[in-house]
Amino acid sequence: MLKKTLAGIAAGALLLGMAACGGSDDDGGGGGSDDGLIVGFAQVGAESAWRVANSESVKASAEADERIGELKFVDAQQEQEKQIEAIRNFITQKVDVIVLAPVVETGWTDVLTEAENAGIPVILADRGIEEADEDLYVTRIGSDFIEEGRKAGTWTTEEFADNDTTRILQLEGTVGSAPANDRKTGFFEVLDSEGFSYELVDSQSGDFTAEGGKAVMETFISTHGLEDIDLLYAHNDEMGLGAIQAIEEAGYTPGVDIEIIIVDGSKAGFEAGAEGKVNYIVECNPVFGDQLMDLVVQVANGDEVEKFTAVEESAYGEGEFEAELPNRKF
């Protein structure tokens, strides 16, 4: 995190200049709604393929949507300072709606209060902010990580319904991160509530990286062996793909000797699925531009919306991977 922040300082200097220029140019323009809504979007950055696909989706949807006049897009290079600066610029530019994908959960009270005083509604995208500031935004659109975990759990109870006791290995995401916590919670919530007989043989963090996933899986294999293991549940693609390599190098066949669930649904994940190495993919969908634009219009019109809007996400089983592969955006 620190390094990412530091990286932002260097790369963000240029961006800050750009954002400031944009601000002074557009000051006089105001937020005329004759040509459609003007939306300001403060994105986290371009730190992952998922995020890049997310940014592209939002830009493309705004472009295609006639109700949206202009999308002011700011890439904050993973820095909160840049996002606060961007929101202040949006306020002086009198945009109609502000969309914020907050880098961190805290420290938004002041700037969001300014937006509220200026009468500009705020929508959060993807990530949330601390509960104390709940009144300062209208709604949040994002992935329901718990639901993703439940989907993985439901598939498990069906796939292994005939087993006596299903022995499970889990590769967790970064310790303490919301997707890691929630994907775990949702998964075991379903297993427990279904009365499903299972044993969690081992569970460790692979830090959401291929490197981590492979290293931890190698240790799992040398410690527990793979003969008695039925299922590997990886909290994201990268760790799952790393684990698949470890399984292959140990002389086992992923997808056959051990069944594998991964969450995310990147192109690389679906390719592995098409090769039969993955049995179930739970999607974590970054392509919610269209859904976001609908929400923006509703909010601008003052319609009542739910406090949380879940992104439409599906899950894919064997036989569906190949067909879905061309649709993958990241």
Partner: protein, 367 residues
Amino acid sequence: MSASTSLKTGRGRAGAYFKRLMWPLIVLAALLIVNVAVTGFDFLIPDVHDDRLSGAFVNILRRAAPLLLIALGMTLVIATKGIDLSVGAVYAIGAAIACQYLMSRDQSSIGAVVFAVALALAIAAVIGAWNGTMVAYFGVQPIVATLILMIAGRGIAQLITGGHIPTVGDTSPFVELGRGAIGTVPVPIWIAAAVFAALVLLTRTTALGMLLESVGGNPEASRLAGVRSKGITILVYLITGACAGLAGILGAANLGSADANNGGLWIELDAILAVVIGGTALIGGRFFLVGTTIGVVIIGTLEVTIINVGLSSQWQFTAKAIVVFIVAMLQSPEFRAWVLRPFRSRRARRSPAEPTPEPAPEKAPVT
């Protein structure tokens, strides 16, 4: 200065050397015993699979190879009173260059793989030399000079990969660098051993090691004594850069992909830890390549130990801190003196009362 005295007292030096290594070795042995106790002797005994040695401990060594390469370079830099924070970023750059180059070319061609590796190594070495130049000629403090690239390096790696994760196919000879084996021994272990041997020969059979220690011990005095410290400083940063690039190549070959964001993340801190565990002081001067190697194996073993004894992921950081703390304490003469003081003072009180001294052997273990 210290070099000349140590040359004279060769035997005393060997003794001091062993003393430095004793504590890390004890900690490593303790970790291994814990693992063997939990998982049995299979932990240590390798088996051959697909003509490649595997088994828990061999896997640890194989996975530790990139960290060892970086830590060895870091040891030399630290010996000159420097530090290199950019190694993690250079790791990412090396991995990115090799994978990105191969992605758009014929991956099965040996020529392309050799060129990709050479290109990545050359650029990593240039980056290292740049760090060294800033330190030696422009007088920038090492921590600042290398911090610049630590910050910018991952951005550069992302520019190289265009923000995506370039992949190299499983059939390419490139991945053999990370997964293959020569004579059943995994290639990364060979590479790390070769670099280790080269650096030991370079620093212990030529004057370079002595010059390094003199530059680290007292740069001004060595300059007055006619040591060309600037050239030496650039050389060690260059070696470290090349080592970091090579580590990135091994890491990328192992995974068949290069992740500009996460590849080698925080490896600079692990490398510094390994150097410190190995007995090399951050203030420069004396350095211990063997000690660093033991430090690297300790760190690698520790990560596996946490899984084997069934600690949750939350323990990863804490356990590492505890082991480092223990090693640091054991290495501190002040701490050992403080712990042993109750015994020593009793003997000190007793000995004047008894003019006929206790037999010498009893004293020996203490001092």
